[in-house]
């Protein structure tokens, strides 16, 4: 599904942030991405999400070499990936329902065709009674769940979550982890970036550890 071969990345003329990164992500797999702050986790996530292109090496995503994609092809590939940001990236002028349904609206679907699906998903993440409020009214945990719901509504094959438990209490963090595990069991590959060791200890999964720009894989 995802393959990195000797990938290196530098910003401008600066030093390499990522060096000779090689790994693969298989369908229906679950992995944590961890490492100290500033080690390159977010950069790796940005590469996975096609927001950056490597300065060297090869990245293939769903069998496509990402260096040869035009903007429209990038958009189409992104529809197969769900992403959850640490800072949620919800649009404040749209309600929770509208935020979550955004990926379907982007596909040009009529609202009537997805209303039930969005409502069901919002109930599943515990936001059934908060779907018509604007994000500034939501708590941090609710925003996080709304962001997760938005990432899931398009039924992605690959879910990227960048510190999804960084802004929530341990109880909610455990519940969110269960949500990701359940999602993985339903067939979605999950890459969960976190520096929360306690969270990783709760689930036996592959760990990708990034340190000083190099990636170490612990199966």
């Amino acid at each position: 599904m995802v393959r990195f071969e000797n990938v290196g990345l530098r910003y401008g003329m600066g030093p390499e942030v990522l060096k000779d990164v090689s790994f693969g992500i298989e369908p229906n797999s679950f992995q944590f991405l961890t490492g100290p702050s500033g080690a390159g986790k977010t950069t790796l996530m940005r590469l996975l999400f096609l927001q950056l292109k490597p300065t060297r090496g090869l990245i293939t995503l769903f069998g496509r070499d990402v260096s040869s994609l035009d903007p429209d092809e990038v958009a189409v590939l992104r529809r197969r990936i769900g992403i959850v940001f640490q800072d949620f990236r919800l649009l404040d002028h749209l309600t929770t329902y509208e935020n979550v349904s955004l990926p379907l609206r982007v596909l040009g679907k009529e609202e009537a065709s997805y209303r039930g699906e969005v409502t069901e998903l919002l109930s599943w993440v515990g936001l059934g009674d908060r779907m018509h409020v604007l994000p500034p009214v939501l708590s941090g945990g609710e925003k996080q769940r709304a962001a997760i719901a938005r990432a899931l509504i398009g039924r992605p094959e690959f879910l990227l979550a960048d510190e999804p438990t960084g802004n929530v209490d341990p109880t909610l963090a455990r519940r969110l982890l269960r949500l990701f595990i359940e999602l993985n069991k339903s067939g979605t590959s999950v890459l969960l970036a976190t520096h929360d060791i306690a969270l990783m200890d709760q689930y036996d999964a592959r760990r990708l550890v990034i340190a000083d720009g190099r990636l170490y894989v612990y199966d």
Binding site: P71, V76, G126, D129, R175, E182
Partner: protein
């Protein structure tokens, strides 16, 4: 998807009083909020530009139509002038010239101006109650062409000058050429003005669109993350700018049409008090063609505003990417 996790969710506090009914009642909100686009200012700019374009189009069409009418009138008519001399000799020359004109093919009517008619022609310059007998005023013969075919004016001129040395023929060609030159000049100025107005409108829209995209940078990023193509994102902005263009265009176009309508109504309302007013303002009647041109300019402005914003968003997105 499973709903097993829903049971583990804590009870949520009820929605804030009043917010839920309000939100439920609304249709899907615009992805790009209209409040983030400098709409009022741009509507004013587009309205002003459309107003100027409408005035230019209306005036150009009016001038062209009036000039065309004048040319049509004068080219259907030529005049023969007989230089003033001894009265009896002059009368004989006038009759001879009129006879020559009548025998020329392509002439429908020959009319010798009486002294009273000549006096009326000169009245604006020399005043009333004038005795033309004291002045060496040339006699004028008005010759109307039948318009069925080209009259042989060259032969008429040759015959006249051969037989009556004091006769001259004026076919108004010089005046007509000058009129054509003036009309062409007005049209050229109109085209230049329209190009400048169009350019200013496009630049205004470009700057407004760039500002709108910059303001909505976070929205654009989220749309990219959820898999939106650039075309979809551009369409979100284009929708707003089409509305702005249509609104501004309508205001400007209707204002321009109102100006021409008011000018046409002014003489009928008896305003101004100048007896020449209807004649002067008659020039500024753009007619149906002019009003149609103004309507077309409104449509073009609206579409150009939308298209410009779309292209600008595309280019800006490429830069961001």
């Amino acid at each position: 998807m499973s709903t097993t996790d829903a049971t583990s969710q804590p009870k949520k506090p009820p929605a804030e009083a009043g917010e839920a009914p309000r939100a439920k009642a609304r249709a899907l909100a615009s992805i790009v909020p209209s409040s983030t686009i400098a709409g009022r200012a741009l509507v004013a700019v587009v309205a002003i530009m459309t107003f100027l374009a409408g005035l230019t189009i209306g005036t150009a069409v009016a001038v062209r139509a009036t000039a065309s009418q004048w040319r049509s009138d004068v080219t259907q008519e030529v005049t023969i002038q007989i230089r003033a001399g001894e009265k009896q000799a002059t009368d004989a020359q006038v009759q001879a010239a009129a006879d020559i004109a009548r025998k020329t093919p392509g002439i429908s009517d020959v009319h010798i101006l009486t002294p009273e008619e000549t006096s009326r022609l000169l009245e604006p310059w020399l005043g009333s109650g004038l005795d033309l007998g004291d002045l060496p005023v040339p006699r004028v013969i008005v010759v109307r062409l039948d318009g069925a075919g080209p009259a042989d004016l060259a032969r008429l001129k040759r015959t006249l000058t051969d037989r009556i040395p004091t006769a001259t023929l004026d076919d108004h060609r010089g005046w007509s050429r000058r009129l054509v030159a003036v009309t062409d000049g007005v049209m050229l100025v109109a085209v230049v003005l329209l190009v400048l107005v169009g350019l200013a409108t496009v630049l205004s829209v470009v700057f407004a669109t760039r500002a709108a995209v910059a303001t909505n940078r976070s929205v654009v990023e989220v749309l990219h993350f959820v898999g939106a193509r650039d075309g979809f994102i551009a369409a979100q902005f284009q929708r707003h700018f089409l509305k702005i263009g249509a609104e501004g265009g309508l205001i400007g176009g209707l204002s321009a049409a109102a100006v021409f309508g008011a000018l046409a109504a002014l003489p009928r309302l008896g305003l101004g008090g100048d007896p020449e007013l209807p004649t002067v303002l008659g020039w500024l009647n753009p007619g149906y063609l002019g009003f149609f041109g103004i309507a077309v300019s409104v449509a073009i402005v609206a579409l150009a505003t939308a298209l410009t914003s779309r292209v600008t968003v595309y280019r800006t997105l490429r830069t961001i990417t």
